[in-house]
C-alpha cells in the first residue's frame, strides 16, 4: 500500500459548480454531471453540456466501477500532502456506466489504493471513499476489484 496522504495540506475550495459534487462524496456517491436535455454525462462538473450546449443539468450517480485505461507511478512527490505517500499510482479509469452510444465515455483520474505492482492497464477498479480527517471532505480513491484477460503492466 502507498503511504498515507496528508489531506490537511490541501485546502479544497468548492465553488457553485462543484459544491454538490463534494457533498455527494460525503454520502459515498461518485456523481457525474448529466444533461437533462440529451442525457450526456461528463466529469469534472463543467457547467454546460458539450454535446448540446444545454445548461439545464442534473447529477448521475455512477456505480463507481470502471477499467484502468492508463496510469502514472509518481515516485517524486511535489505536493506536501503526498510526501508520505510516494510511490503512489494515479489511475485513469473509464467508468462502465458512462459509455454512451456515440462512443463518448467518461475518464476519471484518482489515486489507487493498490501498489504499483498490482496495477495494470485493463484491470477493473472501483471507487472507495476515504476519510480525510476533515468532516467536510471525503476523498474518492480507487482499488482493483477483479481480474481481466489481456492486462498490461509497465515493467521497465
Amino acid at each position: 500500500m502507498p503511504g498515507p496522504i496528508d489531506y490537511s495540506k490541501i485546502n479544497i475550495i468548492p465553488d457553485p459548480d462543484t459544491v454538490e459534487w463534494w457533498e455527494g462524496t460525503k454520502r459515498h456517491k461518485f456523481l457525474v454531471r448529466q444533461c437533462k436535455n440529451c442525457g450526456h454525462k461528463w466529469f469534472p462538473p463543467f457547467p454546460a453540456c458539450a454535446k448540446c450546449t444545454s445548461m439545464d443539468l442534473s447529477w448521475f450517480e455512477t456505480a463507481g466501477k470502471g477499467v484502468i485505461h492508463s496510469y502514472v507511478v509518481v515516485t517524486q512527490p511535489i505536493l506536501a500532502a503526498f510526501v508520505p505517500a510516494v510511490p503512489y499510482v494515479v489511475g485513469l479509469i473509464e467508468l462502465d456506466d458512462c459509455h454512451e452510444p456515440d462512443g463518448s465515455l467518461t475518464r476519471v483520474a484518482g489515486v489507487m489504493i493498490d501498489d504499483e505492482d498490482a496495477v495494470a492497464i485493463g484491470l477493473p477498479a472501483e471507487v472507495v471513499f476515504e476519510p480525510t480527517g476533515d468532516p467536510n471532505f471525503v476523498m474518492p480513491r480507487w482499488k482493483i476489484c477483479g481480474t481481466a484477460q489481456n492486462t498490461w503492466k509497465f515493467n521497465e
Binding site: D15, F43, P44, V73, I78, V83, L92, S104, A109
Partner: protein, 409 residues
C-alpha cells in the same frame, strides 16, 4: 498558400544566459532579451511599438519592460497561458500589424523558472506548500496529480501499451538533443549522454525518468516580428513566416467525455491547415524544433503534424534520425531538455538562426554565416537549411506551430 504567407518576418532574436540561479528579476532579464533582439535586428527603442508576452508561474509585465527600455507601445499585452503561446503570439503580431494597429512587435518570455515561481507550483525547495485546490484543480490536486510530468505520463503509458514501444525511444530523443547541446555554447547541459545513461536515470513519474524531463531554467528570450518591407532594411537576413497555427485545442484525454486516444495531440487537428497555409509539407523541413517539455512530447508531435504516422514515431526516432546530418535535424540548440526551458521562445530563435545560416556555434565566422560543418570542431549549422518548423506544445490539449523559410528558399 495563406493570404499572408511570406508577408511577415522574424528579424531579431536574443536571450539572456540560460541559468540555474539568475539572482536577477524577470524584468531585468526581459529587458536584456528584448534589447539583444533589438540589437540583433539593428532596431532602436523607437522602432519597436508593441510588446507581447505570456505568463504561467513566473513572469513580468510588458508595460514595465517598455518603460525600462524607453519603448512607447501602440499595443502591449500579456496572455495568461503557457507552452505553445510563443507561436500563437506570432499570429497575434501578424494580425495586429496587418490591421494597422502597430508596426513591429517584440515577443518575449522571462522567468526564473527554477529559483522563482516554478511550473507546478513548487517552492524553490521542491515541494508545494499547503495548496489551494480551486477551479479545475479541485479535480486533480487532491489526487496528487498536478505537475506536467504527472499529467503527461498516463498518455505516454497508454502509448507504450498500444504500440508495444519502450522508453528506449524516449532515450533516442534525449541523446540526440544532448548531442546538439554539446555544440551549443549557450546550453546548460552539454555533456553527451548515452541511451544507457537515460535508462539508468532515476524515475520521476513512470514512465518518465529524470532525463525525460526538461530543465527548469532562469532565462528570458525574445524575438521581433515585422513586415517584409521593413525587414529588408534591417541588419540580418529576414526569415519569412509561411504559416502556422495558434493554440489549436483538443479534448483533455485525462478526464471528461472523451473518445480521444490519449496520445492524439492537438496539432493533429491543425495539421491540414498548417501545411495548406504554408504551401509545403513535413517532407520539406530542413530544421525542426519541437516543444520538448518531455522526450515523449516530441514523439507525439512528430505524429500530430504528419512527420510519421500515429504510433510510428517510436520507431521513426531510432538510429539518430533527429540528429544533425541525419534525416530530420531537430532541436539543434539542445532544446528544453538540454539548452534550457524557455517556454518555447528559444526554440524559435534557434530555427531563425539556422535559417539565417548564422547558428551561434564555435565557428569563428558564424556571425557572417561562415561555418565549417565540422561537428567535432563544434559547428552546429545545418547545411542549406531552407525550411524550418517550430511545433509548440501546451499539454495534449493545445498546440501551435510556425513554419518559416530562409531568404534563399
Amino acid at each position: 498558400m495563406g493570404a499572408l504567407t511570406d508577408k511577415y518576418c522574424i528579424v531579431g532574436v536574443g536571450e539572456t544566459a540560460f541559468m540555474k540561479a539568475s539572482g536577477r528579476t524577470p524584468l531585468s532579464m526581459a529587458c536584456e532579451a528584448v534589447k539583444r533582439a533589438m540589437d540583433d535586428a539593428g532596431l532602436g527603442a523607437r522602432d519597436i511599438d508593441a510588446i507581447t508576452s505570456f505568463q504561467i508561474a513566473d513572469s513580468t509585465d510588458v508595460a514595465n519592460v517598455a518603460q525600462a527600455l524607453g519603448i512607447r507601445m501602440n499595443y502591449g499585452s500579456v496572455a495568461y497561458s503557457g507552452g505553445s503561446t510563443t507561436e500563437a503570439l506570432v499570429a497575434h503580431a501578424i494580425g495586429l500589424i496587418e490591421g494597422g494597429y502597430c508596426n513591429t512587435v517584440a515577443i518575449f518570455r522571462a522567468m526564473n523558472g527554477r529559483t522563482g515561481r516554478r511550473m507546478g507550483g513548487q517552492a524553490p525547495g521542491g515541494v508545494v506548500p499547503p495548496s489551494r485546490a480551486e477551479g479545475d484543480a479541485q479535480f486533480y490536486m487532491p489526487w496528487g496529480f498536478t505537475t506536467p510530468a504527472q499529467h503527461f505520463a498516463p498518455s505516454a503509458m497508454r502509448y507504450l501499451h498500444d504500440f508495444g514501444a519502450t522508453t528506449k525511444s524516449f532515450a533516442e530523443v534525449a541523446t540526440a538533443f544532448r548531442y546538439h547541446a554539446s555544440l551549443n555554447p549557450k546550453a546548460l547541459m552539454r555533456a553527451p549522454i548515452t541511451i544507457e545513461d537515460h535508462q539508468r536515470s532515476r524515475w520521476v513519474a513512470k514512465p518518465f525518468r529524470l532525463l525525460d524531463c526538461c530543465l527548469e531554467t532562469d532565462v528570458a528570450s525574445a524575438f521581433i516580428v515585422t513586415s517584409r518591407e521593413r525587414a529588408y532594411d534591417l541588419r540580418q537576413p529576414p526569415v519569412f513566416i509561411m504559416g502556422g497555427s495558434a493554440r489549436t485545442y483538443a479534448d483533455n484525454p485525462a478526464w471528461n467525455h472523451s473518445r480521444q486516444r490519449t496520445y492524439i495531440q492537438a496539432g493533429h487537428f491543425a495539421r491540414q491547415r498548417v501545411w495548406g497555409m504554408s504551401g509545403i509539407g513535413p517532407q520539406d523541413i530542413d530544421v525542426l524544433s519541437i516543444y520538448d517539455a518531455f522526450t515523449y512530447t516530441v514523439i507525439i508531435q512528430l505524429e500530430a503534424y504528419g512527420f510519421c504516422g500515429i504510433g510510428e514515431a517510436a520507431e521513426f526516432v531510432k538510429g539518430g534520425r533527429l540528429r544533425i546530418d541525419h534525416d530530420l535535424p531537430t532541436n539543434l540548440s539542445g532544446g528544453h531538455l538540454s539548452e534550457g526551458y524557455a517556454h518555447g521562445v528559444a526554440l524559435v530563435n534557434e530555427v531563425v538562426r539556422q535559417l539565417r545560416h548564422r547558428a551561434d556555434d564555435a565557428c569563428p565566422g558564424w556571425a557572417e554565416g561562415r561555418h565549417s560543418y565540422d561537428r567535432a570542431a563544434g559547428c552546429r549549422q545545418v547545411r542549406e537549411a531552407r525550411f524550418g518548423a517550430c511545433l509548440g506544445w501546451g499539454t495534449e490539449t493545445r498546440g501551435s506551430s510556425l513554419i518559416l523559410r530562409s531568404l534563399s528558399a
